[in-house]
Each structure stands twice: as C-alpha cells, then as structure tokens.
C-alpha cells in the first residue's frame, strides 16, 4: 500500500479481516492498519501483533465516526446478522461518503449468484435463494452500488470457498468431521465443484483491488488456482491429516442420514435456545446425560445438512478472468500447499488429535476411569 495510508478493517477479529490485518503488518506495508472490532472478546488472535484496535460496531454510528477519523481506505469485512450485513454496510458507506474516504472495498460473497451452474463471471445476475446470508449480501451489494453512484469509490470482492488457518467453516469444521470417522465422500452429492481459495491468495487479491484505481466501481470474483470436487477436497484433506480412507456414502444413505438428522438438529437448536441453563446443569450433575448430549452433538455436527448436500452438488465455477486481467491476480496456493498449511496450523493449535510424539507441542491427555 502507499505511504500515508491508514486502512480501517472492519470485522478484524474475524477470519478474513484478521488475515488482512496480519498480512499488512507482516508484509511491512507502509500503510497503517486500524483493526475495527465489535468487542474485545475475540481480539486474542490479532492482539499478538502490535496493531491499533478501535471499537467499530457497524451498527453504532458514533463508533464508526471515531474509527473512520483519519482513514484513507476501508476494507469492510464485518458480518453478522442480516440487519448488520445490510444496515451496517450502509452505515459504513454513509460515513465513507462524509469522510471522503479514498477507497472502500466491500467483502461480498459468491453466494450472491445463488445456486447456478456452469462458468460464472461477474456479469451473472443476483439470485435470491432464501438463504439469509446470501440474500442479505445481495442487499448489501445493492447499497454499495447506490453509494458508488453518490461518489464513494467502491470495489466489491466476491470470494468463493475460503479455507486455511482460522477458517472455522471450511477448515476446522471439516477437520473435526473427518476425524470423527462419521464423515466420508457422498456419491451423487459430492461431485459438485468446490471452488476453494486459500486465504493468503484471497488476501492478496483484496489488497490488489484496494491498490488499483481501475477496480473502483467494479466487482471481482476471487477463486483458487485448482478446481476440485467436494469429494476430492474431503479425500485430500483426509489424507493430509493422515487419517484412514474415507467411507463412501451411497446417495440414498447420505440423503436418509440427513433427513433423519434434520428434525433432531432443529429440536436440539430449540432446546439450546430455550433451555440452555437447565441442560448445562443436568450435564454437569449427571455424567451419563453429559455423554449422551456429547454423542448427540457429534452426530448432528458430522451429518451434512440438506443445504450442505445442495452445495456439494453445485456445478458452478466462479471465474477470475477479470481479476487476473485488471488486477494481476495470481493465486499461488494449490490445494496440496493450502492443505499442508492448514494441517500444520490445526496441529499447532491442538485442533486435531495427534500423538505427543508428533511435534511435542500439543498432545492430548485422554483417559477415562
């Protein structure tokens, strides 16, 4: 980034926002980083770096105004409820307009294309699916274009499936599922294109977009260099973790498990929402109840949802031709390299089992009476 730049990153305690702040710090960029966080409770990761923190709840206009003071560029990664995705983006853009911000990069998602098939470039129209996340991101993009019309120099980034260290959804969750022994490949469902992009590639794409004048008023897909199916992702991730071969779920079996688990999942969600306190007390008092709850939780977490099966079956490829041509975007992490980093990170944090001989860093003491 240029000298005298001050970049405000919203959602800096999150997966992508955190990576952006860390990358800017580590790359000795001349820009000053200002990490916008909603509260302090998730700041532990970023606080390892001597980076400036500001409280910046995107629903709080007073906080936004303070956070935005002296900023030249905003990279808006904060997400949350549907309201905060839409209204929060509007609040940020409104402040950007008032403060005369030079660049505003909005982190959207490839989910705004809905459930398409084939090759998808940035001209593909928005598609509402009823998925609150994707639908609210469409609304947020519309707000962006509205403010672009008013003079805010907006760029929109549409990442595909972002994996790597600190990815809860696509790395940690699958690592746990694979390790549980309940996961597998899904015949008839897992043959869709996975569209994986390693986090460091995404971050470099975002920073290229923030730097290039030509990106103002444009949207960019950012995807990885290698196309694999979801089943291939599970297999290669499984191999990288050094686990035994995955079981193969036949189409009928995969669907049946999912259908059985859906009402159980809904009931558990309801129970947790309404009876969390009593359930916690029961589990603390009665060991068998605790074991039962743990077992139910494991089954729920390691069985794909209907929406997962639909995603695993999606036959869409998000093209990055525009980003390559206009920004010089070149993703360099193929799946093997991205998975190697992911697995090393998982082991470092003790998020996957390993014998104590592996690294000496984090074994697990598991013994039962």
């Amino acid at each position: 980034m240029a000298h005298n730049e001050t970049i405000l990153i919203t959602g800096a305690s999150g997966f992508i926002g955190g990576w952006l702040a860390e990358t800017l710090y580590l790359s000795s960029s001349a820009a000053d980083v200002r990490a916008g966080i909603r509260n302090w409770s998730r700041a532990a990761r970023l606080a390892r770096f001597p980076i400036e923190f500001v409280l910046c709840d995107v629903m709080d206009r007073t906080q936004i105004a303070k956070a935005m003071d002296g900023v030249t560029c905003v990279i808006h990664c904060a997400k949350g409820s549907e309201e905060s995705i839409i209204e929060g983006t509007k609040n940020m853009l409104d402040a950007a307009l008032r403060f005369g911000i030079k660049r505003f990069v909005h982190l959207s998602t490839a989910e705004i294309y809905g459930n398409p098939s084939g090759e998808i470039d940035e001209t593909f129209p928005y598609q509402y699916t009823g998925n609150p996340y994707g639908d609210s991101k469409i609304e947020a993009e519309k707000v962006c274009w509205d403010y672009y019309g008013k003079g805010v120099p907006v760029t929109v980034i549409r990442p595909s499936i972002v994996y790597g260290p600190f990815s809860e959804t696509w790395t940690v969750r699958f690592a746990r599922n694979l390790q549980s022994g309940n996961w597998g490949t899904f015949k008839g469902y897992g043959e869709g294109i996975c569209n994986l992009v390693y986090i460091a590639d995404l971050v470099s794409g975002i920073l290229l977009a923030a730097r290039h004048e030509c990106s103002i008023g444009e949207a960019f897909n950012l995807n990885g260099p290698e196309l694999v199916t979801w089943n291939q992702y599970f297999q290669r991730f499984n191999a990288a973790l050094g686990l035994p071969d995955l079981r193969v779920f036949q189409p009928s079996s995969a669907r049946l498990r999912t259908m059985i688990m859906e009402p159980i999942r809904s009931s558990a969600k309801f129970a947790l929402a309404h009876f969390q306190g009593p359930l916690k007390r029961i589990s603390q008092r009665f060991r068998p109840a605790k074991e039962l709850m743990k077992s139910a939780e494991k089954s729920i977490k390691t069985t794909p949802r209907l929406t997962d099966l639909s995603l695993f079956n999606r036959d869409a490829i998000y093209l990055t031709t525009k980003a390559q041509k206009m920004l010089g975007y070149k993703p360099t992490f193929n799946l093997d390299k991205g998975l190697e980093m992911s697995v090393r990170w998982l082991k470092h944090l003790g998020l996957v089992d390993q014998t104590r001989k592996d690294t000496g860093i984090c074994g697990r003491i598991i013994t039962s009476a």
């Binding site: 923190f53 470092h348 003790g350 598991i366």
Partner: protein, 352 residues
C-alpha cells in the same frame, strides 16, 4: 431486584460488625465474581464502596447489586477503608495496592498479583513493613480437585513426581469491559500471564518450589501471546504446559509419580482420577459445597473479612505466589516464537 439479591442473605464471614471495604474496579471480574459473593452477606454490603474511574460502570453495578455508595476516585477512601479489593487491569495492581498498603489498609488483590516478580516482591515487602495483609485471589488453590493433588503429593504415598503435563486451551471469551488484555499500551502479557497465573501457581505449589525452565515458546509478534508452550524440570520431574486462547482442547492435568498417577479435568472441581501402582484408574469424588466460582469467591471474601477484622491469615498470600510469578517472568525472557509457516507471507505484488 436481581436473582442474586433475591437469594436469602447468608453471612459468609460470620462477622456481624464487618469492616469498611472498597471494591476498586467495576469490570467483568467485579460483576461475575466479587459482587455476587459480597452481596450474599448483607452485613458486608452495608459497608461497601464501589470505585471505578468510569462513573457509569460503577453506577451500573451499584444499581444492579444495590450498593449504596459508588465513587470514581479511590483516593477518596484511602484513609477511610480498612480493607480493599483490587479488581482493576493488571498493570494497575502494583501502584494502587502499594498506595493502600502504605496507608495500613489490608488488600485482597486479583490475580495475577503483578506484572513482574519485582513488583510483586515490592508489594509483599510493603505489606510486611506496614503490618497489614496482602491476600491474593489465586482461587484455584481452594478448589477441591487441585487441593487434593497437593495433599497426595505432600503425603508422598505415590512417591516423587516424575512428570507433570498440564494443558489449558479455551478460546478467549472473557467479557472484558476495558479490553485491557489486548490494548497494547496498557496490557501486561497474554495467555502466559493470564491462564498461566493459575497453572504455574499450581505447579510451584504442588512441587513446593519453582521448577527450572527448560524451554518456552509462544506466538507473539510483538503483541500479546495467545498460545504458549513451556517445558520445565524439577529434581526427577519433567513437565510441559500448553496454554491457548485460540482453540479449545481438553483442559487437563496429569501428574505421574513413582507409584501412581493423578489426573484431572481443570473444570471438574469435584473429582480426580487416581491410579495407584499398576492398578486401574479410580475416580475419587471429593465432597465439597464449593461447586462454582462464586462459591469459592464467598470463601475468599469471607476469609478477607476475617483477615481485616480478626487478623486471620489469608487463604493465599502475596508471598505464596512469588515463585510462580518469577517463573512466568522467566518464560517471557526465554521465549522464542513457534515455527508458523502459514505466516511466511510473501512479498505482496506491487501491482503497479
């Protein structure tokens, strides 16, 4: 009225003429720990002053817990109170505690006692000079499971300890109000100083003294470490500790001795696993009324009232924890960074 206040009043200290006490700091620890304990005893409540430099914070807790008086400047009560509970960010423990100790006021200080062993020693020395008590809230020493380990090691029926393994991994979720843990200019350490305060206190307490540091690694890049790994040795015993604010993994400890093994879950206060010789693991259930942190807080607060009023000894005093604070200092001094290849960020494209 809050749920806490609707519980029947239970005089925990047994003192009907309690001392005048100030609670300094109205952040998360005051709200979650000290005030639920202090307000269980109406006698204490009537003699309590809340202090916080942010008036709204003090007012909010005073209203919630029905404390009649709150102020913003602790200097107002320097010559007024007999005892003070220090629940402010760690870097303020030393200066505020020193002021009260030098005025002859008894102090109960939140953990960690100080940012360094030097400062902690000064505090202990000041308490000795003025003849008042410096109690510290290293509450985990009062938890039955940890106390049982100490008892088993002290009686030596299992022989000498050969290894200690202690892992505490939890994502940081403490509802810190000031953000002092992470605010670089005022913060005083990361997971080592925070979770490590208890873990290394246990280890020093169990072993009877400070072990020798073998290696120390963490993940700080000039900020506050969120993951730390430490190896140590003491006589025949070797040990390893892993602490994390970034990931949850089973929080457990294991002490292998010459003739048996003790294991425990950090959050299971009521039992440990004990294996004698080559026998099977046996779960030892420890009967105690102290099931929650607030139960322990009641004990700590009640003891402090008696320390102030009757010159009773503190459950844990400042001098008891000097070894662990010194050990943590050594961990910082010797620390190297973990190998983290995912941070080998290549030069960004200039994109020009």
């Amino acid at each position: 009225m809050s749920n806490i206040l609707s519980q029947p009043s239970k005089p925990t200290s047994g003192i009907k003429d309690p001392p005048k006490i100030a609670l300094i700091g109205c952040g998360a620890i005051a709200k979650e720990y000290y005030l639920p304990a202090l307000t269980r005893d109406t006698y204490i409540l009537n003699n309590l002053v809340l202090v916080d430099s942010h008036r709204e914070r003090a007012q909010k807790l005073a209203t919630k817990f029905e404390v009649a008086r709150y102020i913003v400047d602790y200097h107002e009560v320097l010559d007024e109170v007999e005892g003070v509970i220090i629940a402010v960010p760690t870097h303020l423990h030393h200066p505020i505690t020193m002021e009260f100790l030098s005025r002859g006021v008894h102090v109960l200080c939140e953990k960690p006692l100080a940012e360094s062993a030097n400062k902690a020693r000064m505090m202990v020395e000041q308490a000795r000079k003025t003849g008042v008590a410096l109690a510290v809230n290293y509450l985990q020493r009062l938890i039955p499971s940890f106390a049982k380990v100490k008892e088993l090691l002290a009686e030596k029926t299992l022989g000498e300890p050969l290894s200690i393994t202690y892992f505490v991994g939890e994502e940081f979720k403490w509802p810190t109000v000031s953000g002092f843990y992470f605010n670089s200019p005022i913060s005083s350490g990361g997971v080592l100083r925070d979770r490590g305060a208890h873990v290394f206190d246990h280890i020093c307490w169990w072993l009877g003294e400070k072990p020798k540091l073998v290696s120390s690694q963490n993940d700080a890049f000039g900020g506050r470490e969120a993951v730390a790994y430490v190896q140590f040795e003491h006589q025949k015993c070797i040990g390893e500790v892993k602490l994390s604010w970034l990931a949850s993994f089973p929080c457990r400890f294991m002490v292998e001795c010459e003739r048996g093994t003790i294991e425990g879950d950090v959050y299971d206060y009521q039992s440990i696993l004990l294996k004698r010789g080559v026998g099977q693991n046996q779960r030892i259930n420890l009967k105690s009324r102290d099931k929650t942190k607030v139960d322990i807080a009641c004990k700590v607060v009640a003891n402090f009232m008696r320390v102030v009023k009757n010159n009773e000894l503190p459950l844990v005093s400042g001098s008891d924890v000097l070894d662990s604070i010194k050990f943590i200092d050594e961990c910082y001094e010797a620390a190297t960074r973990f190998d983290m290849p995912w941070y080998e960020i290549r030069e960004l494209n200039s994109g020009s």
